[in-house]
């Protein structure tokens, strides 16, 4: 006789149950009559160690455990876009309708709306041979997004039936004759979150993912399919920067994972996204966004899962051939959840109490990014870029989460307290940060923006570096003792800092700058430097140059709106005339 599964110990989010022989690692179970959701994270004979995704107060030994024999999976299909889910893909708006303003326990709600009907338009034809990843048809989910219905991984055969019409996600729209019989295909795919979705092939990313943020697009760009991290102490503006990415990055789909962060930040996102318009299509940004919100006061085990839920949804859209960007705020909270569970399991800790497998888990996560050739016969390519915030204690970059992250990501945007205190935003320190994508992107930028772009960036970077050295000297001996040429470098670098790098996220025009505008801004600033230098050589008065009225106009370049870039010509001409 099979022994019944029963709880034998409860300690916070960790529950130990007996009678679980035959269960597999990472299977989902339901805990007690309240049906709390949990996941098996360790097995010892017939004992299962379960991390419970909900508060366990009031649960005790002797209560039953219901085994599902399935791992944690997400439902993928039409209806994902514009949704807001908790860490295990339960729709928060439906929970609110069902149970009020506070989240109760044991809610069991399907991730997708099973009643809503979608219009399915077939693309594949009956009689055609199909393989995993082939596009059967499309559903126009939002005006911004055509949701492609694909053949799920592991299915291969002949398409024997396909129908056009209005269907709910569980209705059969096609039938495929496979070696093991006829498979009915509906609009849903289920996928276990901890397993990466397969793709045919990965290749190096060569296109920039523009974000509209000048310091990033020009100086420290990320590629479509790339990875980046943004560590910084509290108050340095991590979340504002990530929100700016979610708003303005030119990805087709944005998955925003609020992992153990503030509830009001999610409220802000939900408030502003329906109103903000995508600068390219003019549609509300929410129409291309999926939000996963597991705020800091929500159960810690679900926080651990939220990152995987997010990335699996992102991979699903990548498989359709889209460029997807995932923002995770913050991976430190995810690591802390890992640490908390590990502590309850009484595992031997590594650095700072974090489990020894922290860095391998982080690496696995970031490696799910990439530019790929998707499954399916048409060899479409998709990209998944990941940007993760890291919140090191006290802003200390030697923190194990930062260090483990830096080993795998290619772009590092280092936020700086001092800049934030001086209200220089985004507070990304230009001397500290780096991007390893410059070489990959050079060709694209040369072709699409200007051949000169890379040279300008290098020149500007050189000035900024010289500035930091000169300032040190000036601090010791006084600014008066520098040569006029050095002081001109200081003036030019100041202009780069204040007129180019500084960007106000809350200003209606300044919040987004296209690459074309970034190029023109930088060009004028550097032209000012070059021309002034020439004039200095000819013996012009330094103070007069430093106080040229055109500099006032340069400082307001950022407020020129995108549809009036011709104004740059006027200012360029004016600049050249200024020295007459």
């Amino acid at each position: 006789m099979k022994k019944e599964a029963k709880i034998i110990k409860v300690s916070g989010p960790l529950v130990i149950a007996s009678g679980c022989a035959g269960s597999k690692m990472y299977d989902i179970v339901r805990v007690s009559e309240k049906k709390l959701i949990g996941e098996i994270i360790e097995l010892k004979n017939d004992l299962a160690y379960i991390q419970v995704y909900e508060e366990t107060a009031g649960i005790g030994p002797g209560e039953p455990i219901y085994l599902t024999n399935e791992p944690l999976t997400v439902e993928l299909g039409p209806g994902l876009i514009s949704s807001i889910y908790d860490g295990i893909q339960r729709p928060l708006n439906v929970i609110r309708q069902a149970s009020g303003d506070f989240i109760p326990r044991g809610v069991d709600i399907s991730a997708l709306d099973y009643n809503k009907r979608w219009h399915f338009k077939p693309i594949a034809r009956e009689g055609q041979d199909v393989v995993s990843g082939d596009i059967l048809g499309v559903v126009q989910e939002t005006p911004l997004l055509e949701h492609k219905i694909m053949v799920a991984p592991n299915i291969k055969g002949k398409l024997v039936e396909i129908r056009e019409g209005d269907f709910s996600v569980r209705d059969t729209v096609a039938k495929v004759k496979t070696e093991s019989g006829i498979k009915e295909i509906n609009l849903i795919q289920r996928w276990p979150v901890r397993r990466p979705r397969p793709a045919k092939e990965k290749f190096a990313p060569l296109e920039p993912l523009t974000t509209g943020q000048r310091v990033i697009d020009t100086f420290f760009p990320i590629a479509k399919g790339g990875t980046a991290c943004i560590p910084g102490p509290f108050g340095s503006g991590k979340t504002v920067v990530l929100h700016e990415f979610a708003k303005w990055s030119d990805a087709q789909i944005v998955v925003y994972v609020g992992c153990g962060e503030r509830g009001n930040e999610i409220a802000d996102l939900l408030l502003s996204f329906p109103e903000l318009k995508d600068p390219r299509s003019g549609r509300p940004l929410l129409e291309r966004t999926v939000v996963i919100a597991n705020t800091s006061n929500m159960p810690v085990a679900a926080r651990e899962a939220s990152i995987y839920t997010g990335i699996t949804i992102a991979e699903y859209f990548r498989d359709m051939g889209y460029s997807v960007a995932l923002m995770a705020d913050s991976t430190s909270r995810w690591a802390e959840a890992l640490r908390e569970i590990s502590g309850r399991l009484e595992e031997m800790p590594g650095e700072e109490g974090y489990p020894a497998y922290l860095s391998s888990r982080l690496a696995e996560f970031y490696e799910r990014a990439g530019k790929v050739v998707c499954l399916g016969n048409n060899n479409r390519s998709g990209a998944l870029s990941i940007m993760g915030a890291v919140s090191p204690p006290g802003g200390d970059l030697s923190d194990p989460v930062v260090q483990a992250t830096l080993r795998v990501v290619k772009v590092f945007w280092g936020l700086d307290d001092k800049l934030a205190n001086a209200r220089h935003f985004p507070a990304i320190n230009w001397l500290l940060s780096y991007s390893l994508y410059h070489d990959n992107l050079e060709e694209f930028l040369g072709k699409n923006i200007h051949d000169d772009f890379t040279r300008l960036r290098k020149e500007a970077m050189r000035l900024l570096e010289e500035e930091s050295q000169l300032l040190e000297i000036a601090r010791l001996v006084g600014i008066e003792s520098l040569t006029f040429f050095d002081r001109l470098i200081l003036e030019a670098a100041k202009s780069i800092r204040e007129d180019f790098l500084h960007q106000n996220a809350f200003h209606e025009v300044d919040t987004y700058t296209s690459l074309a505008k970034q190029y023109r801004m930088l060009k004028i600033i550097l032209e000012f430097y070059d021309l002034s230098r020439e004039k200095l050589k000819e013996g012009a008065d330094f103070d007069k140059i430093a106080k040229l009225p055109i500099r006032e106009k340069i400082s307001r370049l950022k407020y020129i709106s995108e549809d009036k870039l011709v104004e740059f010509d006027t200012i360029e001409n004016e600049l050249r005339r200024s020295y007459a």
């Binding site: 110990k9 409860v10 300690s11 916070g12 366990t56 107060a57 009031g58 649960i59 005790g60 030994p61 807001i84 928060l92 708006n93 929970i95 609110r96 303003d101 506070f102 989240i103 102490p233 509290f234 108050g235 609020g258 153990g260 503030r262 509830g263 009001n264 999610i266 409220a267 802000d268 919100a293 705020t295 800091s296 006061n297 929500m298 810690v300 909270r333 802390e336 959840a337 640490r339 908390e340 502590g343 800790p349 700072e352 109490g353 919140s391 204690p393 006290g394 802003g395 307290d417 934030a420 205190n421 001086a422 209200r423 601090r475 006084g478 600014i479 204040e498 809350f506 006032e552 400082s555």
Partner: protein, 456 residues
Amino acid sequence: MLKEYLTVSSISGPLVVVEKTTDVKYAELVEVEFSEGSIRRGKVLESSSDKALVQMFEGTIGLDVVSARVRFLGKTQELGVSPDLVGRVFDGAGRPRDNGPAIIAKKYMDINGNPINPEARAYPQEFIQTGISTIDGMNPLVRGQKLPIFSAAGLPHGHIAAQIARQAKVLGKQESFAVVFGAMGITFEEADFFMRDFRDTGAIERSVLFINLANDPAVERISTPRLALTAAEYLAFDLDMHVLVILIDMTFYCESLREVSAARKEIPGRRGYPGYLYTDLATIYERAGRIKDKKGSITLLPVLTMPDDDKTHPIPDLTGYITEGQIILSRELHRKGIYPPVDVLPSLSRLKDKGIGKDKTREDHSDVLNQLFACYAKGKEARELAVILGEAALSDVDKLYLKFADTFEDKFVRQDRNENRSITQTLDMGWEIMRLIPKEELKRVREEYLNKYYSK
């Protein structure tokens, strides 16, 4: 009839192990009868099939293994709430401390609460005028925000908290307003200061106080903020009141948490604090907020003292990661005799942007704020330079900035303990000081406002 266990097998710090238990639930409330007859309470931290680990709220002094009687109450810790809470003083465990009668509860609420559904949150955007320029002008507070005061030993955080409690109001509105005050581990004198201040100003009429003094059981402190917030949730979301919650001092709360964690022999995180300190603090701080379609709100103002003035200490550090900004007090300003000694540069209010501006405070508020920050930062840099090189070595512009910084501290930051400045007064004062700096240097202000306000 409840089952009584006489099977206590070990006592260590606040922790008691009870053997041979059946049907004990996690987080259940426990009553322990001491041999001398007194009854103290605790809760279940860990429950296995044959034993339970209990954490006592009021210490274990006088408890013995042989004669202790343990009863499991079958419910988690609750607070009985009713409108009569207002005007009362309780101890850290929720018992009346003012010699008044017990509260006849309208309903019982679990003190751990449930997380607010992020989807149900309304974004905080109503400006609260505290009458303090450094807060209203530079780090505006809005309804539903959680904004801690980072203080240190010997700084007047108590006075500032009391002043805010006294003066806070939303512009142009008359709504029912309450203050919930939770004190953890503060001294009798500090608590007495607040109670006197609340009584003298009549604020007590609209306040609920939960007070756990320094000599009260340390473990009791773990429930105190939760009791306070449960009361606040009832007042805000059941009775539609706007509630300001002041929690003082979170440092003592965290120390109690560390004490329990150490007694459980858990693997410590930084500085011996448990690895779940962040999550634990979040379950307190995140209870602040506003909810769509509900009138009331909870604004949270925790006060904590930074050990050794160190902002990177785990308590201020983790707090800063959860709260929406911070007000940092500076010892340097305090030494100069400036009250309130708010250090403007590292202080921050994250929610300010939607709470200020036209129709809320004044159109120029955001620009003025940014410009004052930038100028003050430059002024302080110039001051540092002057210390090294002497004031004579400064450039003319730097000298102006230096003068700006001095004037800013003396006029804008400094104010009287009872001085209630309106936001218009604060902004006008900002412009007055900005006139020390030439117009073309003021790059953070839009031209239209420069024209309108600079040359007034």
